[in-house]
Amino acid sequence: MSKRNTTRLLVPLVAILLGFALGALVLIVTGRNPGAMFLAMFQGATGVNLKAGSFNPRYIGEFIIQSMPIMLSGLSVAFAFRTGLFNIGAEGQLIAGSVAATAVALWVEAPPVIHVLLVLLAAAVVGGLWGAIPGFLKARFNIHEVVITIMMNYLALFLNNWMVLYVFGSKDRIKTALFPATALLKDDALSALTNGSRLNWGFVPVLLSVLLFWFVIEKTTFGYSLRAVGFNKDGARYAGMRVERNMVLSMAIAGGFAGLAGAVLTTGTFNYGRFLPGAEGYGMDGIAVALVGGNGAFGVFFSALLFGMLKAAQPLMQSQGVPKEIASIIQASIVLFIAMSLGIETLISKLRKQKIEALGEEAGV
């Protein structure tokens, strides 16, 4: 068991290292300074500018802000993975959640704390419904969830834009009216604490979601039956589990996490619904986060911080003459290396299996 845990840590760590090494290599080959990138990343995460010897807590706030939505979309992707489903639709579920958040924030009047809770609840429910649709289509008609979720991402995007322009209404065609203060996760005190960053109370639902994920997956029979479906659909069915129901529920919960991310963005980072010119990549980030985090609650927590740091460092990289796209290159490389390492592992385990026929180990979790 402990050995398996070592590998579980080792695979992503090697992939991360490889990713950063490749990123640095790309910078060197193209004549840019990789040191500047690492300094920018350090400053993005800690607020400490090693070069100037200064400290600015605003960067820590922005770092947390950048990590929050991708932590949730990471949980979303990871939760579906555990049931053997590939949720490439976290982006769309997030957008559906932010539309719901916008609707409740603008149209419902409620006392301070309750309003925020309603916003979060609505976002999670609508995101969950948006996720349940592909889950249902997969369970009932065996339609591939990858294709459906991709299509539904774009559907969500254009529906959001239509809602913002024609239903919520937008004077400047960029954003809706501002939300009332009661609906906001934003808090000037938190912002002031971090020297004017966009830090907000969104981290509370985010952290609760991490714990909820861990509890449901690791500690409940429901979580066990979900994992069982992920290992072996037919076996799980044979053992009397309701495979179809589990698929729908799993996608609904996955959608719920992503929907929550929509609410955290719209009422935390911003305070209005937004017109979206294109996909913002939170869903793709979620896939990277889930893979690097090994689809576990705490793995997702740390890998979201890693990618959040990369994002937070982008503006700093730019000001140091490092093109910010290096962050996407590093992120993609890490994902690719993880995909490769999974393949390498399978290859090795295959070779071993041929030698030792019986190896009744549990499929890797």
């Binding site: 590998t7 990789p34 499929a363």
Partner: protein
């Protein structure tokens, strides 16, 4: 998909492979990092103290969506910065080969992401980086500038082409705007004169994002065309279409080209655009249709003529009969000069108009001949606007009233 996402893992078998891989990578990684640190260290050593205390004053600039290379607005702002560097002896840093004329100031440029949600971030980074003057190029920056300026009272912000309420000369924000409607009036008049040979001709306007600002271009243009020629006072003779509904509409030549093709094929002789980087699509369409186009912001024909030896570029350039200059470069240059020479920029509002050359129709060696028949009339109109005899409308409603009043 039956692919297993979490395959069986066996530790013993893969250990050597992984350790070797890891070891090699750590070495590469460490090597890079060390080299990087060294470089950074060396650079930091020579500039850090100086930069922080007695080094050249720093100027920052954040481009709007699209960034450099749009052949219009962003490029014009950059040109202003380059001119300032040349004139005042400063330098632009951040990429190899950037202009370097001395050390009276040091400027760096950032560009916002496609969706533009990092605008405030970039402004803050520049301010915290020690920039005493920060330009925000484009009206979409207005909210971000307002907020960041509050948090950084020691940095002066220049918002190009946008407005923020309640500024005074003591504010640390200068909002620069242009009388685009006046310049567009001349563009409209030019289009009207040029198209009036054909009694059934139409003229077209392509806007980027549908906003009040871009509607000022539209309004001025319509009023100008109607003022110049009787035919355009009839409904349906001035075609108007917008590229999109968000910032990316200024970086979408694809759609602009399709719109322009439609306009030309339905009878437009001259099409004017206020769509930033999307305008290049219009010029393509103009060349293909063999019709005329009017550019915006900078003298857009010059970029095409600059590509010596390319006959198609020349052909495209010759289709751009003129451009409505919005001298963003002038605004950037003048404020940078003020900053370098006086150490500060006065806050508040500035409007650059026809009267002070902030807006104008572009004239160059290439369009001299084609403009010749209209120059006298255009100059007269310009003078009338400067004297206040023509009051150019700023909204489509006012333009409609203006046109109705002409009859």
């Amino acid at each position: 998909m039956k692919t297993r996402l979490t395959p069986r893992r066996t530790v013993q078998g893969m250990r050597p492979a992984f350790w070797v891989m890891a070891a090699i990578l750590v070495l590469i990684f460490a090597g890079c990092a060390a080299r990087g640190q060294e470089q950074a260290g060396a650079r930091a050593g020579e500039t850090q103290e100086a930069a922080a205390r007695s080094g050249p004053p720093k100027i920052g600039l954040v481009f709007d969506v699209g960034g450099r290379g749009d052949g219009a607005f962003n490029d014009s702002a950059y040109a202003g910065l380059v001119e300032a560097a040349r004139e005042l002896g400063g330098r632009i840093v951040g990429e190899p080969g950037a202009p370097d004329y001395g050390s009276r100031f040091e400027a760096r440029c950032l560009s916002s992401k496609l969706e533009g949600r990092d605008r405030a971030q970039l402004l803050s980074v520049l301010a915290e980086d020690g920039c005493r003057l920060v330009y925000a190029v484009g009206f979409l920056f207005a909210d971000s500038v307002a907020r960041v300026a509050r948090e950084h009272p020691n940095t002066h912000f220049v918002l190009i082409d946008g407005s923020i309420p309640d500024l005074s000369s003591a504010s640390n924000v200068t909002a620069v705007s242009f009388a685009e409607h006046e310049g567009s009036f001349l563009a409209g008049a030019l289009a009207g004169y040029a198209a009036s040979g054909n009694p059934r001709a139409k003229v077209g306007f392509i806007g980027g994002m549908d906003t009040p600002l871009i509607r000022r271009f539209q309004s001025g243009f319509a009023a100008g065309a109607a003022y110049a020629a009787l035919a355009f006072r009839e409904p349906g003779r001035i075609l108007v279409q917008y590229v999109g509904k968000d910032g990316s509409a200024f970086a979408d030549p694809k759609t602009a080209k399709a719109i322009a093709e439609l306009m030309y094929s339905t009878g437009a002789e001259v099409v004017y655009h206020a769509a930033g980087g999307s305008g290049a699509g219009l010029f393509e369409a103009a060349r293909e249709a063999g019709k005329l186009a009017i550019g915006v912001d900078s003298d857009q024909a010059l970029a095409y003529f600059a590509k010596a030896g390319d006959p198609h570029a020349r052909e495209t350039g010759s289709r751009i009969v003129s451009s409505m200059l919005k001298r963003v470069d002038r605004a950037v240059f003048l404020t940078a000069k003020e900053f370098v020479e006086r150490g500060a920029v006065e806050g508040g509002y500035r409007v650059y108009s026809l009267a002070d050359g902030g807006v104008a129709l572009a004239r160059n060696e290439h369009n001299e001949r084609s403009l010749a028949p209209y120059v006298a009339r255009l100059d007269e109109l310009s003078a009338k606007i400067v004297r206040g005899e023509i009051k150019v409308p700023e909204t489509p409603e006012a333009a409609a009233a203006f046109i109705a009043g002409l009859k």
